[in-house]
C-alpha cells in the first residue's frame, strides 16, 4: 500500500470518507503502488465493479486519482489504468482550511450583528426577524421564544479564526 503516512492521519481518513462515502472507503483507504485497473481493485477488495468505479471517479474529480486508457491488443477493449495521487491531499486540505476560514469570518459578522431567540423545547434558534414573524412563539411547540445569548458561539468562532490565520500565515502574507 502507498501513502501510509498520510493515511495514518485520522483527519485525512475522515476527509476521504466524506468524499467517497462508506461503500467507496475500501477503495480510498488502500491505494496500491503504481497503476491498477478497476477490475483488479474490485476483485481484490471483493466489491461491486460499479462501487469501485464510483469511488475512483470521485477521487479523480478531487485530483486524487488519474487514469490512462489502453487498448487490449487481443480483445480490442479499452482498459483504464488508475494511479492514486494522494500527494495532492495536503494542498486540498489547505484549500479547505481557507474556505472554512472565509466562512467563519462571514459567520462571525452575522452572529455579531443579529439577535437570536430560542425555542427551548424544540431546540431551534430563530433570528430576530423570524421570531417576530412567529409572534415570538415557537411554530412547532407553541412555547414562548426567549432571547438567547450567542457569546459562546462568537468566542469559539473568534478562537478558531485566530488559529487558522496563524496556521495559514494569513495576516503576514496577504
Amino acid at each position: 500500500m502507498a501513502f501510509e503516512e498520510l493515511l495514518s492521519d485520522p483527519v485525512i481518513q475522515k476527509y476521504l470518507h466524506e468524499l467517497v462515502g462508506p461503500t467507496g472507503m475500501p477503495v480510498a483507504a488502500a491505494p496500491p503502488d503504481g497503476e491498477v485497473t478497476d477490475e483488479e481493485l474490485a476483485e481484490e477488495l471483493g466489491l461491486e465493479l460499479n462501487d469501485v468505479r464510483r469511488a475512483l471517479f470521485i477521487l479523480y474529480e478531487n485530483d486524487l486519482a488519474s487514469y490512462r486508457r489502453v487498448r487490449d491488443e487481443d480483445s480490442g477493449w479499452l482498459t483504464y489504468l488508475w494511479t492514486f495521487e494522494y500527494e495532492n491531499i495536503p494542498e486540498n486540505l489547505e484549500e479547505e482550511m481557507h474556505r472554512l476560514l472565509d466562512a467563519l469570518e462571514e459567520r462571525l459578522e452575522y452572529e455579531r450583528t443579529h439577535e437570536f431567540y430560542l425555542s427551548e423545547p424544540a431546540g431551534i434558534r430563530f433570528e430576530f426577524s423570524e421570531a417576530m414573524e412567529f409572534d415570538f412563539q415557537c411554530p412547532e411547540t407553541g412555547a414562548p421564544l426567549e432571547p438567547m445569548e450567542n457569546d459562546d458561539l462568537v468566542e469559539a468562532t473568534e478562537r478558531r479564526i485566530e488559529e487558522l490565520r496563524n496556521e495559514l500565515s494569513v495576516e503576514i502574507t496577504r
Binding site: 503516512e5 476527509y15 466524506e18 495536503p90 489547505e94 469559539a156 468562532t157 478558531r160 488559529e163 503576514i172
Partner: protein, 116 residues
C-alpha cells in the same frame, strides 16, 4: 510528516526547519538572527530547505527591507483545525460555501460546546 527528506538535513538546516515549523512561519531576516548565524548562511539554509520541498517561501517587505517569509508546506499544516469535536468541516465535498447553513451551525455548536 517528512521523515525521508529530513534525514539528510545538516544540524543548522534542522534547527532552521524546526524553527519554521514551531513558529508556523517566520521572516528570513528573523530566522538568521534567531539562530545566531550570518544572513548569508541563513539565506543558503533557507534555499536548501525550499529546494528539498520542506518549506515554502514568499517575497515580502518586512521592517522596510525586502526579505522572504518562510513557512511550512501544506503537508505540515495542522489539519485538525478542520474539525469541531468529531465533525469535519461541512464544506468539504461541497461546491458552495454557505456560512449560514444548518450543517455549519451544527459544526459551530460542536466547536463552542465540545471543543473549547
Amino acid at each position: 510528516m517528512s521523515a525521508v527528506e529530513e534525514a539528510d538535513l545538516s544540524e543548522a538546516e534542522r534547527a532552521a526547519f524546526d524553527l519554521i515549523l514551531e513558529t508556523r512561519g517566520i521572516h528570513q531576516s528573523e530566522l538568521w538572527k534567531e539562530l545566531d548565524i550570518s544572513s548569508r548562511k541563513g539565506s543558503r539554509i533557507a534555499e536548501s530547505l525550499v529546494e528539498a520541498g520542506l518549506v515554502r517561501r514568499e517575497e515580502t517587505v518586512y521592517q522596510g527591507h525586502n526579505t522572504y517569509f518562510l513557512m511550512p508546506t501544506a503537508r505540515d499544516l495542522d489539519f485538525s483545525l478542520l474539525m469541531a469535536g468529531d465533525m469535519l468541516s461541512p464544506f468539504i465535498g461541497e461546491e458552495e460555501v454557505d456560512p449560514r447553513s444548518d450543517a455549519f451551525s451544527q459544526w459551530l455548536m460542536n466547536l463552542a460546546y465540545e471543543e473549547y
